[in-house]
Protein backbone atom coordinates (compact mmCIF):
# COMPACT_ATOMS: atom_id res chain seq x y z
CA UNK A 1 0.00 0.00 0.00
CA UNK A 2 1.09 3.56 -0.58
CA UNK A 3 2.70 5.40 2.29
CA UNK A 4 0.37 7.66 4.22
CA UNK A 5 0.53 9.75 7.35
CA UNK A 6 -0.88 6.71 9.12
CA UNK A 7 2.56 5.15 9.14
CA UNK A 8 2.58 7.29 12.27
CA UNK A 9 0.75 4.60 14.20
CA UNK A 10 3.40 2.03 15.04
CA UNK A 11 2.67 -1.39 16.48
CA UNK A 12 1.98 -1.22 20.21
CA UNK A 13 4.67 -3.07 22.18
CA UNK A 14 2.45 -3.59 25.24
CA UNK A 15 0.30 -6.45 23.94
CA UNK A 16 3.33 -8.37 22.63
CA UNK A 17 5.20 -7.87 25.94
CA UNK A 18 2.18 -9.44 27.65
CA UNK A 19 2.24 -12.30 25.12
CA UNK A 20 5.92 -12.77 25.86
CA UNK A 21 5.24 -13.07 29.58
CA UNK A 22 2.50 -15.65 28.91
CA UNK A 23 5.12 -17.76 27.11
CA UNK A 24 7.61 -17.24 29.94
CA UNK A 25 4.95 -18.46 32.37
CA UNK A 26 4.28 -21.51 30.19
CA UNK A 27 7.93 -22.29 30.65
CA UNK A 28 8.17 -21.53 34.40
CA UNK A 29 4.99 -23.40 35.35
CA UNK A 30 6.60 -26.63 34.07
CA UNK A 31 9.43 -26.50 36.62
CA UNK A 32 7.41 -27.92 39.57
CA UNK A 33 6.37 -30.79 37.24
CA UNK A 34 10.03 -31.57 36.70
CA UNK A 35 10.59 -32.12 40.43
CA UNK A 36 7.34 -34.04 40.82
CA UNK A 37 8.64 -36.43 38.14
CA UNK A 38 11.96 -36.66 40.01
CA UNK A 39 10.10 -37.46 43.20
CA UNK A 40 8.30 -40.29 41.45
CA UNK A 41 11.50 -41.42 39.75
CA UNK A 42 9.81 -41.04 36.37
CA UNK A 43 12.74 -40.44 33.99
CA UNK A 44 10.61 -40.39 30.89
CA UNK A 45 8.34 -37.66 32.21
CA UNK A 46 11.38 -35.62 33.20
CA UNK A 47 12.62 -35.79 29.61
CA UNK A 48 9.16 -34.85 28.39
CA UNK A 49 8.93 -31.84 30.70
CA UNK A 50 12.44 -30.72 29.73
CA UNK A 51 11.47 -30.76 26.07
CA UNK A 52 8.40 -28.67 26.76
CA UNK A 53 10.46 -26.13 28.72
CA UNK A 54 12.93 -25.83 25.84
CA UNK A 55 10.08 -25.31 23.37
CA UNK A 56 8.41 -22.60 25.49
CA UNK A 57 11.75 -20.84 26.06
CA UNK A 58 12.39 -20.84 22.32
CA UNK A 59 8.92 -19.40 21.60
CA UNK A 60 9.49 -16.65 24.16
CA UNK A 61 12.77 -15.79 22.42
CA UNK A 62 10.97 -15.48 19.10
CA UNK A 63 8.44 -13.04 20.55
CA UNK A 64 11.26 -11.07 22.15
CA UNK A 65 13.10 -10.68 18.85
CA UNK A 66 9.90 -9.68 17.08
CA UNK A 67 9.21 -6.91 19.63
CA UNK A 68 12.78 -5.61 19.40
CA UNK A 69 12.44 -5.44 15.64
CA UNK A 70 9.21 -3.43 15.98
CA UNK A 71 10.75 -0.88 18.36
CA UNK A 72 13.36 1.05 16.39
CA UNK A 73 14.80 4.23 17.84
CA UNK A 74 12.34 6.43 15.93
CA UNK A 75 9.36 4.93 17.77
CA UNK A 76 7.97 7.15 20.50
CA UNK A 77 6.38 5.31 23.44
CA UNK A 78 4.60 6.75 26.50
CA UNK A 79 7.25 5.21 28.74
CA UNK A 80 10.96 5.19 28.09
CA UNK A 81 11.73 2.87 25.20
CA UNK A 82 14.90 1.55 26.84
CA UNK A 83 12.94 0.69 30.01
CA UNK A 84 10.52 -1.30 27.85
CA UNK A 85 13.39 -3.18 26.25
CA UNK A 86 14.91 -3.80 29.71
CA UNK A 87 11.66 -5.29 30.95
CA UNK A 88 11.55 -7.53 27.93
CA UNK A 89 15.14 -8.63 28.55
CA UNK A 90 14.49 -9.29 32.26
CA UNK A 91 11.34 -11.27 31.46
CA UNK A 92 13.22 -13.32 28.94
CA UNK A 93 15.93 -13.97 31.52
CA UNK A 94 13.30 -15.67 33.75
CA UNK A 95 12.61 -18.31 31.10
CA UNK A 96 16.36 -18.69 30.46
CA UNK A 97 16.89 -19.50 34.14
CA UNK A 98 13.99 -21.97 34.06
CA UNK A 99 15.67 -23.72 31.15
CA UNK A 100 18.98 -23.75 33.05
CA UNK A 101 17.24 -25.70 35.84
CA UNK A 102 16.42 -28.45 33.37
CA UNK A 103 20.00 -28.39 32.07
CA UNK A 104 21.43 -29.07 35.56
CA UNK A 105 18.86 -31.79 36.17
CA UNK A 106 19.96 -33.53 32.99
CA UNK A 107 23.58 -33.82 34.15
CA UNK A 108 23.08 -36.70 36.53
CA UNK A 109 20.14 -38.50 38.16
CA UNK A 110 19.88 -36.66 41.49
CA UNK A 111 18.72 -38.40 44.71
CA UNK A 112 15.72 -36.57 46.27
CA UNK A 113 15.79 -37.59 49.96
CA UNK A 114 12.54 -37.44 51.90
CA UNK A 115 14.10 -35.14 54.55
CA UNK A 116 14.41 -32.17 52.21
CA UNK A 117 11.20 -32.67 50.28
CA UNK A 118 8.96 -30.73 52.66
CA UNK A 119 11.23 -27.69 52.75
CA UNK A 120 11.89 -27.96 49.04
CA UNK A 121 8.20 -27.78 48.15
CA UNK A 122 7.72 -24.87 50.55
CA UNK A 123 10.48 -23.08 48.70
CA UNK A 124 9.25 -24.09 45.24
CA UNK A 125 5.68 -22.98 45.99
CA UNK A 126 6.92 -19.62 47.24
CA UNK A 127 8.94 -19.13 44.05
CA UNK A 128 5.83 -19.88 42.01
CA UNK A 129 3.70 -17.50 44.08
CA UNK A 130 6.28 -14.78 43.50
CA UNK A 131 6.55 -15.26 39.76
CA UNK A 132 2.74 -15.49 39.44
CA UNK A 133 2.54 -12.14 41.22
CA UNK A 134 4.80 -10.63 38.58
CA UNK A 135 2.67 -12.24 35.87
CA UNK A 136 -0.35 -10.44 37.36
CA UNK A 137 1.54 -7.15 37.31
CA UNK A 138 2.45 -7.74 33.67
CA UNK A 139 -1.21 -8.45 32.93
CA UNK A 140 -1.98 -4.90 34.14
CA UNK A 141 0.15 -3.32 31.40
CA UNK A 142 -2.79 -2.84 29.03
CA UNK A 143 -4.83 -1.21 31.79
CA UNK A 144 -1.86 0.99 32.65
CA UNK A 145 -1.67 2.07 29.02
CA UNK A 146 -5.41 2.84 29.00
CA UNK A 147 -5.01 4.93 32.17
CA UNK A 148 -1.85 6.41 30.61
CA UNK A 149 0.39 5.32 33.48
CA UNK A 150 -1.11 7.48 36.19
CA UNK A 151 -3.78 7.81 38.80
CA UNK A 152 -5.50 4.99 40.63
CA UNK A 153 -4.36 2.27 38.23
CA UNK A 154 -0.77 3.30 38.79
CA UNK A 155 -1.30 3.19 42.56
CA UNK A 156 -2.78 -0.27 42.31
CA UNK A 157 0.19 -1.61 40.35
CA UNK A 158 2.62 0.07 42.73
CA UNK A 159 1.00 -1.80 45.61
CA UNK A 160 1.28 -5.07 43.66
CA UNK A 161 4.99 -4.43 43.17
CA UNK A 162 5.43 -3.84 46.92
CA UNK A 163 3.73 -7.18 47.60
CA UNK A 164 6.03 -8.80 45.04
CA UNK A 165 9.04 -7.53 46.97
CA UNK A 166 7.75 -9.10 50.20
CA UNK A 167 7.10 -12.39 48.42
CA UNK A 168 10.60 -12.50 47.05
CA UNK A 169 12.02 -11.82 50.50
CA UNK A 170 10.03 -14.78 51.80
CA UNK A 171 11.52 -16.92 49.02
CA UNK A 172 15.03 -16.01 50.15
CA UNK A 173 14.18 -17.04 53.71
CA UNK A 174 12.82 -20.41 52.61
CA UNK A 175 15.82 -20.98 50.39
CA UNK A 176 18.06 -20.38 53.41
CA UNK A 177 16.17 -22.96 55.53
CA UNK A 178 16.36 -25.46 52.72
CA UNK A 179 20.11 -24.94 52.31
CA UNK A 180 20.76 -25.49 56.00
CA UNK A 181 18.81 -28.74 55.83
CA UNK A 182 20.66 -29.83 52.70
CA UNK A 183 24.11 -29.17 54.17
CA UNK A 184 23.22 -31.16 57.29
CA UNK A 185 22.85 -34.20 55.02
CA UNK A 186 26.37 -34.09 53.62
CA UNK A 187 27.20 -37.63 54.81
CA UNK A 188 24.17 -39.28 53.18
CA UNK A 189 24.28 -37.35 49.90
CA UNK A 190 27.97 -36.91 49.23
CA UNK A 191 29.68 -33.66 48.13
CA UNK A 192 28.81 -33.93 44.41
CA UNK A 193 25.08 -34.21 44.99
CA UNK A 194 25.25 -31.37 47.52
CA UNK A 195 26.93 -29.11 44.97
CA UNK A 196 24.39 -29.98 42.28
CA UNK A 197 21.42 -29.41 44.60
CA UNK A 198 22.87 -26.08 45.66
CA UNK A 199 23.10 -25.09 42.01
CA UNK A 200 19.47 -26.16 41.49
CA UNK A 201 18.27 -24.13 44.51
CA UNK A 202 20.19 -21.15 43.25
CA UNK A 203 18.60 -21.31 39.81
CA UNK A 204 15.08 -21.89 41.13
CA UNK A 205 15.59 -18.95 43.50
CA UNK A 206 16.74 -16.86 40.55
CA UNK A 207 13.31 -17.30 38.96
CA UNK A 208 11.83 -15.36 41.88
CA UNK A 209 14.70 -12.86 41.86
CA UNK A 210 14.10 -12.26 38.16
CA UNK A 211 10.40 -11.70 38.78
CA UNK A 212 11.16 -9.11 41.45
CA UNK A 213 13.78 -7.35 39.37
CA UNK A 214 11.37 -7.11 36.40
CA UNK A 215 8.57 -5.84 38.63
CA UNK A 216 10.80 -3.13 39.99
CA UNK A 217 11.53 -1.94 36.45
CA UNK A 218 7.81 -1.36 35.98
CA UNK A 219 7.96 1.09 38.90
CA UNK A 220 9.78 3.48 36.55
CA UNK A 221 6.65 3.68 34.36
CA UNK A 222 4.39 4.87 37.13
CA UNK A 223 3.79 8.51 37.81
CA UNK A 224 2.01 9.75 40.84
Amino acid sequence: MRKTIFELFAKSPFGPIQDHMLKVMDCVRLIPDLFRALEEGDQERMRDVTEKVEKAEFDADEIKNQIRGDLPRTVFTPVDRTDLLDILRFQDRISDVAEDVTVVMKLKPLPFPGEIRGLFWDFMDQVMVTVEQYARINAELDELMEASFGGAESGKVLEMINVLGKMEHETDRKQQDLLVKLLSMEKELGPLNIVLWMRVFQLVGDIANGAERTGNRIRLFLSK
Binding site: L8, V75, F76, T77, E153
Partner: protein, 416 residues
Protein backbone atom coordinates in the same frame (compact mmCIF):
# COMPACT_ATOMS: atom_id res chain seq x y z
CA UNK B 1 -11.49 37.10 -25.56
CA UNK B 2 -9.44 34.88 -27.80
CA UNK B 3 -9.86 31.69 -25.79
CA UNK B 4 -12.20 28.99 -27.06
CA UNK B 5 -14.93 27.63 -24.79
CA UNK B 6 -12.99 24.36 -24.64
CA UNK B 7 -10.75 26.07 -22.10
CA UNK B 8 -13.75 26.57 -19.84
CA UNK B 9 -14.81 22.94 -20.16
CA UNK B 10 -11.26 21.77 -19.59
CA UNK B 11 -11.24 23.86 -16.41
CA UNK B 12 -14.42 22.20 -15.17
CA UNK B 13 -12.92 18.78 -15.82
CA UNK B 14 -9.64 19.70 -14.12
CA UNK B 15 -11.52 21.08 -11.12
CA UNK B 16 -13.75 18.03 -10.74
CA UNK B 17 -10.71 15.80 -11.18
CA UNK B 18 -8.91 17.62 -8.35
CA UNK B 19 -12.00 17.41 -6.13
CA UNK B 20 -12.30 13.72 -6.99
CA UNK B 21 -8.67 13.30 -5.94
CA UNK B 22 -9.35 14.96 -2.59
CA UNK B 23 -12.38 12.75 -2.00
CA UNK B 24 -10.52 9.63 -3.07
CA UNK B 25 -7.36 10.13 -1.03
CA UNK B 26 -7.61 12.94 1.50
CA UNK B 27 -10.95 12.22 3.13
CA UNK B 28 -9.47 8.97 4.40
CA UNK B 29 -7.08 11.05 6.51
CA UNK B 30 -10.05 12.73 8.12
CA UNK B 31 -12.01 9.53 8.75
CA UNK B 32 -9.23 6.97 9.30
CA UNK B 33 -8.90 7.42 13.06
CA UNK B 34 -12.66 7.04 13.62
CA UNK B 35 -12.78 3.81 11.66
CA UNK B 36 -9.53 2.58 13.25
CA UNK B 37 -10.89 2.97 16.77
CA UNK B 38 -14.15 1.26 15.70
CA UNK B 39 -16.16 4.33 16.66
CA UNK B 40 -17.89 4.18 13.28
CA UNK B 41 -18.19 1.44 10.69
CA UNK B 42 -16.88 1.92 7.17
CA UNK B 43 -20.42 2.43 5.87
CA UNK B 44 -21.22 5.05 8.51
CA UNK B 45 -17.90 6.78 7.87
CA UNK B 46 -18.64 7.12 4.15
CA UNK B 47 -22.16 8.45 4.72
CA UNK B 48 -21.12 10.92 7.44
CA UNK B 49 -18.10 12.07 5.44
CA UNK B 50 -20.28 12.55 2.36
CA UNK B 51 -22.74 14.78 4.20
CA UNK B 52 -20.28 16.79 6.26
CA UNK B 53 -17.56 17.19 3.63
CA UNK B 54 -20.18 18.68 1.34
CA UNK B 55 -21.61 20.91 4.07
CA UNK B 56 -18.16 22.18 5.02
CA UNK B 57 -17.19 22.83 1.42
CA UNK B 58 -20.46 24.59 0.67
CA UNK B 59 -20.82 26.67 3.84
CA UNK B 60 -17.27 27.64 4.80
CA UNK B 61 -15.24 26.76 1.71
CA UNK B 62 -15.41 30.30 0.32
CA UNK B 63 -12.83 31.90 2.63
CA UNK B 64 -9.97 29.63 1.67
CA UNK B 65 -11.05 29.65 -1.95
CA UNK B 66 -10.64 33.43 -2.01
CA UNK B 67 -7.09 33.09 -0.72
CA UNK B 68 -6.14 30.55 -3.37
CA UNK B 69 -7.75 32.44 -6.26
CA UNK B 70 -6.63 35.97 -5.47
CA UNK B 71 -4.72 36.08 -2.19
CA UNK B 72 -1.40 34.63 -3.28
CA UNK B 73 -1.09 35.88 -6.85
CA UNK B 74 -2.16 39.45 -7.49
CA UNK B 75 -4.76 39.29 -10.29
CA UNK B 76 -4.40 43.01 -10.95
CA UNK B 77 -1.10 42.25 -12.68
CA UNK B 78 -3.10 40.54 -15.44
CA UNK B 79 -5.46 43.43 -16.08
CA UNK B 80 -6.16 43.56 -19.80
CA UNK B 81 -4.80 40.08 -20.57
CA UNK B 82 -7.28 37.77 -18.84
CA UNK B 83 -6.55 34.84 -21.16
CA UNK B 84 -3.07 34.49 -19.68
CA UNK B 85 -4.53 34.45 -16.18
CA UNK B 86 -7.08 31.80 -17.16
CA UNK B 87 -4.49 29.56 -18.78
CA UNK B 88 -2.20 29.99 -15.79
CA UNK B 89 -4.90 28.98 -13.30
CA UNK B 90 -5.84 26.01 -15.45
CA UNK B 91 -2.17 25.03 -15.62
CA UNK B 92 -1.95 25.29 -11.82
CA UNK B 93 -4.96 23.03 -11.41
CA UNK B 94 -3.62 20.42 -13.84
CA UNK B 95 -0.11 20.55 -12.40
CA UNK B 96 -1.31 20.04 -8.84
CA UNK B 97 -3.34 17.03 -9.99
CA UNK B 98 -0.38 15.56 -11.90
CA UNK B 99 1.93 16.06 -8.93
CA UNK B 100 -0.56 14.42 -6.55
CA UNK B 101 -0.81 11.34 -8.75
CA UNK B 102 2.94 11.18 -9.18
CA UNK B 103 3.62 11.45 -5.46
CA UNK B 104 0.93 8.89 -4.64
CA UNK B 105 2.76 6.60 -7.06
CA UNK B 106 6.11 7.41 -5.42
CA UNK B 107 4.66 6.94 -1.92
CA UNK B 108 5.25 10.49 -0.65
CA UNK B 109 2.81 11.82 1.98
CA UNK B 110 2.11 14.93 -0.08
CA UNK B 111 -0.59 17.42 0.85
CA UNK B 112 -3.12 18.61 -1.75
CA UNK B 113 -3.01 22.03 -0.08
CA UNK B 114 0.73 22.43 -0.51
CA UNK B 115 0.48 21.24 -4.11
CA UNK B 116 -2.09 23.82 -5.16
CA UNK B 117 -0.32 26.66 -3.36
CA UNK B 118 2.98 25.68 -4.99
CA UNK B 119 1.29 25.53 -8.38
CA UNK B 120 -0.33 28.97 -8.05
CA UNK B 121 2.97 30.48 -6.93
CA UNK B 122 4.79 28.87 -9.88
CA UNK B 123 2.35 30.37 -12.35
CA UNK B 124 2.51 33.80 -10.67
CA UNK B 125 6.30 33.81 -10.81
CA UNK B 126 6.44 32.75 -14.46
CA UNK B 127 4.03 35.39 -15.75
CA UNK B 128 4.24 38.28 -13.36
CA UNK B 129 7.66 37.79 -11.83
CA UNK B 130 8.19 38.23 -8.13
CA UNK B 131 6.00 41.35 -7.99
CA UNK B 132 2.94 39.26 -8.89
CA UNK B 133 3.16 37.36 -5.62
CA UNK B 134 1.63 38.67 -2.41
CA UNK B 135 4.66 37.69 -0.37
CA UNK B 136 3.07 38.66 2.94
CA UNK B 137 0.09 36.44 2.29
CA UNK B 138 2.30 33.60 1.07
CA UNK B 139 4.43 33.90 4.18
CA UNK B 140 1.39 33.70 6.44
CA UNK B 141 0.21 30.63 4.50
CA UNK B 142 3.58 28.90 4.87
CA UNK B 143 3.77 29.87 8.54
CA UNK B 144 0.34 28.31 9.05
CA UNK B 145 1.73 25.00 7.76
CA UNK B 146 4.18 24.97 10.65
CA UNK B 147 1.85 26.43 13.23
CA UNK B 148 -1.28 24.33 12.53
CA UNK B 149 0.32 20.99 13.59
CA UNK B 150 1.66 22.73 16.69
CA UNK B 151 -1.72 24.16 17.66
CA UNK B 152 -3.16 20.70 16.99
CA UNK B 153 -0.54 19.18 19.27
CA UNK B 154 -1.19 21.68 22.06
CA UNK B 155 -4.96 21.15 21.87
CA UNK B 156 -4.65 17.37 21.64
CA UNK B 157 -2.40 17.41 24.69
CA UNK B 158 -4.82 19.59 26.66
CA UNK B 159 -7.96 17.61 25.86
CA UNK B 160 -6.36 14.26 26.54
CA UNK B 161 -4.74 15.49 29.76
CA UNK B 162 -8.16 16.65 30.96
CA UNK B 163 -9.68 13.24 30.13
CA UNK B 164 -6.78 11.51 31.87
CA UNK B 165 -6.94 13.59 35.02
CA UNK B 166 -10.69 13.69 35.40
CA UNK B 167 -11.70 10.22 34.18
CA UNK B 168 -8.98 7.69 33.46
CA UNK B 169 -7.05 8.35 36.69
CA UNK B 170 -10.05 7.57 38.84
CA UNK B 171 -10.64 4.42 40.85
CA UNK B 172 -13.95 4.02 39.05
CA UNK B 173 -13.44 5.57 35.60
CA UNK B 174 -17.00 4.87 34.50
CA UNK B 175 -18.47 6.77 37.41
CA UNK B 176 -15.93 9.57 36.93
CA UNK B 177 -17.02 9.75 33.30
CA UNK B 178 -20.52 10.73 34.39
CA UNK B 179 -19.03 13.91 35.85
CA UNK B 180 -16.07 14.42 33.52
CA UNK B 181 -17.70 13.98 30.14
CA UNK B 182 -20.52 16.53 30.66
CA UNK B 183 -17.89 19.02 31.86
CA UNK B 184 -15.72 18.27 28.84
CA UNK B 185 -18.69 18.82 26.54
CA UNK B 186 -19.18 22.43 27.67
CA UNK B 187 -16.00 23.84 26.06
CA UNK B 188 -16.15 21.30 23.22
CA UNK B 189 -19.69 22.23 22.21
CA UNK B 190 -19.06 25.94 22.70
CA UNK B 191 -16.03 25.86 20.42
CA UNK B 192 -17.88 23.72 17.89
CA UNK B 193 -20.91 25.99 17.68
CA UNK B 194 -18.78 29.11 17.75
CA UNK B 195 -16.63 27.88 14.88
CA UNK B 196 -19.70 27.05 12.83
CA UNK B 197 -21.42 30.37 13.46
CA UNK B 198 -18.61 32.88 13.10
CA UNK B 199 -18.34 33.80 9.41
CA UNK B 200 -19.67 30.36 8.63
CA UNK B 201 -23.30 30.85 7.80
CA UNK B 202 -22.80 33.85 5.57
CA UNK B 203 -23.77 31.64 2.64
CA UNK B 204 -27.11 30.97 4.32
CA UNK B 205 -27.63 34.73 4.69
CA UNK B 206 -27.54 34.46 8.46
CA UNK B 207 -25.46 37.18 10.00
CA UNK B 208 -24.41 36.82 13.60
CA UNK B 209 -21.84 38.94 15.40
CA UNK B 210 -19.05 37.36 17.41
CA UNK B 211 -20.75 38.32 20.66
CA UNK B 212 -24.02 36.71 19.65
CA UNK B 213 -22.19 33.62 18.43
CA UNK B 214 -20.35 33.37 21.74
CA UNK B 215 -23.60 33.57 23.68
CA UNK B 216 -25.25 30.94 21.49
CA UNK B 217 -22.14 28.77 21.81
CA UNK B 218 -22.11 28.92 25.61
CA UNK B 219 -25.84 28.23 25.70
CA UNK B 220 -25.30 25.20 23.46
CA UNK B 221 -22.48 24.09 25.76
CA UNK B 222 -24.80 24.20 28.75
CA UNK B 223 -27.48 22.26 26.88
CA UNK B 224 -24.86 19.66 25.96
CA UNK B 225 -23.84 19.46 29.63
CA UNK B 226 -27.39 18.87 30.82
CA UNK B 227 -28.30 16.42 28.07
CA UNK B 228 -25.14 14.33 28.40
CA UNK B 229 -25.45 14.34 32.19
CA UNK B 230 -29.02 13.11 31.86
CA UNK B 231 -28.08 10.38 29.40
CA UNK B 232 -25.05 9.19 31.33
CA UNK B 233 -26.94 9.01 34.61
CA UNK B 234 -30.18 7.55 33.24
CA UNK B 235 -29.31 5.55 30.19
CA UNK B 236 -25.92 4.17 31.14
CA UNK B 237 -26.80 2.21 34.22
CA UNK B 238 -23.40 1.15 35.48
CA UNK B 239 -23.46 -1.71 37.87
CA UNK B 240 -20.41 -2.47 39.95
CA UNK B 241 -18.08 -4.56 37.85
CA UNK B 242 -14.46 -5.25 37.30
CA UNK B 243 -12.19 -2.30 36.66
CA UNK B 244 -11.33 -3.72 33.27
CA UNK B 245 -15.00 -3.45 32.28
CA UNK B 246 -15.07 0.05 33.69
CA UNK B 247 -12.45 1.24 31.18
CA UNK B 248 -14.37 -0.51 28.41
CA UNK B 249 -17.52 1.37 29.34
CA UNK B 250 -15.65 4.69 29.30
CA UNK B 251 -14.29 3.90 25.85
CA UNK B 252 -17.78 3.04 24.64
CA UNK B 253 -19.00 6.48 25.69
CA UNK B 254 -16.08 8.06 23.86
CA UNK B 255 -16.89 5.95 20.81
CA UNK B 256 -20.31 7.62 20.77
CA UNK B 257 -18.77 11.07 21.16
CA UNK B 258 -16.29 10.26 18.43
CA UNK B 259 -19.12 10.01 15.92
CA UNK B 260 -19.58 13.73 16.57
CA UNK B 261 -15.90 14.57 16.19
CA UNK B 262 -15.72 12.48 13.01
CA UNK B 263 -18.46 14.68 11.51
CA UNK B 264 -16.62 17.75 12.76
CA UNK B 265 -13.37 16.66 11.11
CA UNK B 266 -15.18 15.93 7.84
CA UNK B 267 -16.82 19.37 7.98
CA UNK B 268 -13.52 21.13 8.68
CA UNK B 269 -11.77 19.11 6.00
CA UNK B 270 -14.40 19.97 3.42
CA UNK B 271 -14.24 23.64 4.42
CA UNK B 272 -10.48 23.85 4.04
CA UNK B 273 -9.68 21.45 1.24
CA UNK B 274 -12.43 22.22 -1.27
CA UNK B 275 -10.43 25.34 -2.09
CA UNK B 276 -7.64 23.19 -3.44
CA UNK B 277 -9.93 22.10 -6.23
CA UNK B 278 -12.12 25.13 -6.79
CA UNK B 279 -9.76 27.99 -5.91
CA UNK B 280 -8.18 28.29 -9.38
CA UNK B 281 -11.45 27.31 -11.04
CA UNK B 282 -13.39 30.03 -9.21
CA UNK B 283 -10.83 32.52 -10.49
CA UNK B 284 -11.37 31.29 -14.05
CA UNK B 285 -15.17 31.47 -13.69
CA UNK B 286 -14.95 35.03 -12.41
CA UNK B 287 -13.00 36.10 -15.47
CA UNK B 288 -15.36 34.35 -17.86
CA UNK B 289 -18.34 36.01 -16.18
CA UNK B 290 -16.92 39.49 -16.08
CA UNK B 291 -14.92 39.37 -19.26
CA UNK B 292 -11.98 40.80 -17.37
CA UNK B 293 -10.36 40.63 -13.95
CA UNK B 294 -13.02 42.14 -11.74
CA UNK B 295 -12.17 40.48 -8.49
CA UNK B 296 -14.99 41.77 -6.36
CA UNK B 297 -17.33 38.95 -7.36
CA UNK B 298 -17.87 36.32 -4.65
CA UNK B 299 -17.31 32.61 -5.26
CA UNK B 300 -20.54 31.42 -6.93
CA UNK B 301 -22.56 28.80 -5.07
CA UNK B 302 -22.57 26.40 -7.97
CA UNK B 303 -18.76 26.37 -7.94
CA UNK B 304 -18.67 25.49 -4.25
CA UNK B 305 -21.33 22.87 -4.90
CA UNK B 306 -19.34 21.45 -7.82
CA UNK B 307 -16.31 21.05 -5.54
CA UNK B 308 -18.44 19.45 -2.83
CA UNK B 309 -20.00 17.00 -5.29
CA UNK B 310 -16.58 16.14 -6.72
CA UNK B 311 -15.29 15.29 -3.24
CA UNK B 312 -18.33 13.14 -2.48
CA UNK B 313 -18.01 11.28 -5.79
CA UNK B 314 -14.31 10.65 -5.12
CA UNK B 315 -15.22 9.33 -1.72
CA UNK B 316 -17.89 7.03 -3.12
CA UNK B 317 -15.88 5.65 -6.02
CA UNK B 318 -12.45 5.19 -4.48
CA UNK B 319 -12.10 6.90 -1.08
CA UNK B 320 -14.06 4.27 0.83
CA UNK B 321 -11.44 1.68 -0.08
CA UNK B 322 -8.66 3.89 1.25
CA UNK B 323 -10.63 4.48 4.47
CA UNK B 324 -11.10 0.74 4.84
CA UNK B 325 -7.39 -0.01 4.39
CA UNK B 326 -6.31 2.74 6.77
CA UNK B 327 -8.93 1.80 9.36
CA UNK B 328 -7.65 -1.77 9.39
CA UNK B 329 -4.06 -0.62 9.69
CA UNK B 330 -4.57 1.56 12.75
CA UNK B 331 -5.40 -0.72 15.61
CA UNK B 332 -3.61 1.03 18.43
CA UNK B 333 -5.98 3.97 18.86
CA UNK B 334 -8.89 3.88 21.30
CA UNK B 335 -11.91 6.21 21.17
CA UNK B 336 -10.73 8.46 24.05
CA UNK B 337 -7.52 9.15 22.12
CA UNK B 338 -9.26 9.42 18.77
CA UNK B 339 -11.75 11.89 20.23
CA UNK B 340 -8.95 14.11 21.58
CA UNK B 341 -6.93 14.07 18.36
CA UNK B 342 -9.92 14.63 16.10
CA UNK B 343 -11.40 17.47 18.09
CA UNK B 344 -8.01 19.21 18.19
CA UNK B 345 -7.52 18.73 14.45
CA UNK B 346 -10.97 19.87 13.40
CA UNK B 347 -10.89 22.98 15.56
CA UNK B 348 -7.43 23.98 14.33
CA UNK B 349 -8.32 23.41 10.67
CA UNK B 350 -11.65 25.20 10.93
CA UNK B 351 -9.97 28.15 12.67
CA UNK B 352 -7.44 28.34 9.82
CA UNK B 353 -10.28 28.12 7.27
CA UNK B 354 -11.99 31.10 8.85
CA UNK B 355 -8.75 33.03 8.59
CA UNK B 356 -8.54 32.03 4.92
CA UNK B 357 -5.41 29.95 5.50
CA UNK B 358 -5.10 26.81 3.40
CA UNK B 359 -3.59 24.25 5.81
CA UNK B 360 -3.15 20.52 5.51
CA UNK B 361 -5.74 18.55 7.49
CA UNK B 362 -3.59 15.44 7.54
CA UNK B 363 -0.50 17.24 8.85
CA UNK B 364 -2.59 18.90 11.54
CA UNK B 365 -3.91 15.47 12.49
CA UNK B 366 -0.34 14.19 12.79
CA UNK B 367 0.39 17.09 15.16
CA UNK B 368 -2.71 16.37 17.24
CA UNK B 369 -1.92 12.67 17.54
CA UNK B 370 1.60 13.51 18.68
CA UNK B 371 0.10 15.91 21.23
CA UNK B 372 -2.00 13.05 22.64
CA UNK B 373 1.16 10.92 22.59
CA UNK B 374 3.06 13.51 24.61
CA UNK B 375 0.34 13.21 27.25
CA UNK B 376 1.23 9.48 27.30
CA UNK B 377 -1.90 8.57 25.38
CA UNK B 378 -0.47 6.62 22.45
CA UNK B 379 1.14 3.18 22.71
CA UNK B 380 3.69 3.70 19.94
CA UNK B 381 4.22 6.45 17.39
CA UNK B 382 6.67 6.21 14.55
CA UNK B 383 8.20 9.67 14.45
CA UNK B 384 9.99 8.94 11.18
CA UNK B 385 6.73 10.09 9.56
CA UNK B 386 7.57 13.65 10.63
CA UNK B 387 10.75 13.53 8.59
CA UNK B 388 8.84 12.24 5.56
CA UNK B 389 6.33 15.06 5.94
CA UNK B 390 8.98 17.77 6.19
CA UNK B 391 10.73 16.27 3.16
CA UNK B 392 7.49 16.33 1.21
CA UNK B 393 7.00 20.01 2.11
CA UNK B 394 10.41 20.88 0.81
CA UNK B 395 9.82 19.01 -2.44
CA UNK B 396 6.16 19.83 -3.12
CA UNK B 397 6.21 23.60 -3.55
CA UNK B 398 9.13 23.82 -6.01
CA UNK B 399 8.02 20.68 -7.84
CA UNK B 400 4.45 21.84 -8.43
CA UNK B 401 5.73 25.29 -9.39
CA UNK B 402 7.93 23.67 -12.03
CA UNK B 403 5.21 21.35 -13.35
CA UNK B 404 2.84 24.33 -13.59
CA UNK B 405 5.31 26.23 -15.74
CA UNK B 406 5.65 23.29 -18.12
CA UNK B 407 1.90 22.73 -18.33
CA UNK B 408 1.33 26.45 -18.90
CA UNK B 409 3.75 26.55 -21.81
CA UNK B 410 1.99 23.58 -23.41
CA UNK B 411 -1.46 25.13 -22.91
CA UNK B 412 -0.27 28.43 -24.32
CA UNK B 413 1.01 26.73 -27.45
CA UNK B 414 -2.37 25.01 -27.84
CA UNK B 415 -4.73 27.87 -27.03
CA UNK B 416 -3.13 31.10 -28.17
Amino acid sequence: MVLGTWVFWASIIACVYMAWNIGANDVANAMGTSVGSHAVTLRQAVILAGIFEFAGAFLVGGHVTDTVRKGIVDPAIFQGRPEIFILGMLAALLAAGIWLNLSTFLGLPVSTTHSIVGAVVGFGLLIGGSKAIHWNKLLSVVMSWFISPMIGAAMGWMIFTFIKKSILSSWAPDRAAKRGIPLLLIPVTTVLVLSLLVKGLKNLSLHVTFGEALLIGIAAGCVAFLLSRFFLVRVYDFRAGRRRDSFDRVERIFATLQIGTACYVAFAHGANDVANAIGPFAAIVAVFQEGDLAMKVPVPFWVLGLGGVGIVVGLGTWGYRVIDTIGKKITSITPSRGFSAEFATATTVLLCSKLGLPVSTSHTLVGSVIGVGLAKGMAALNLRVIRNIVNSWLITVPATALVTIIVYLILKALAL
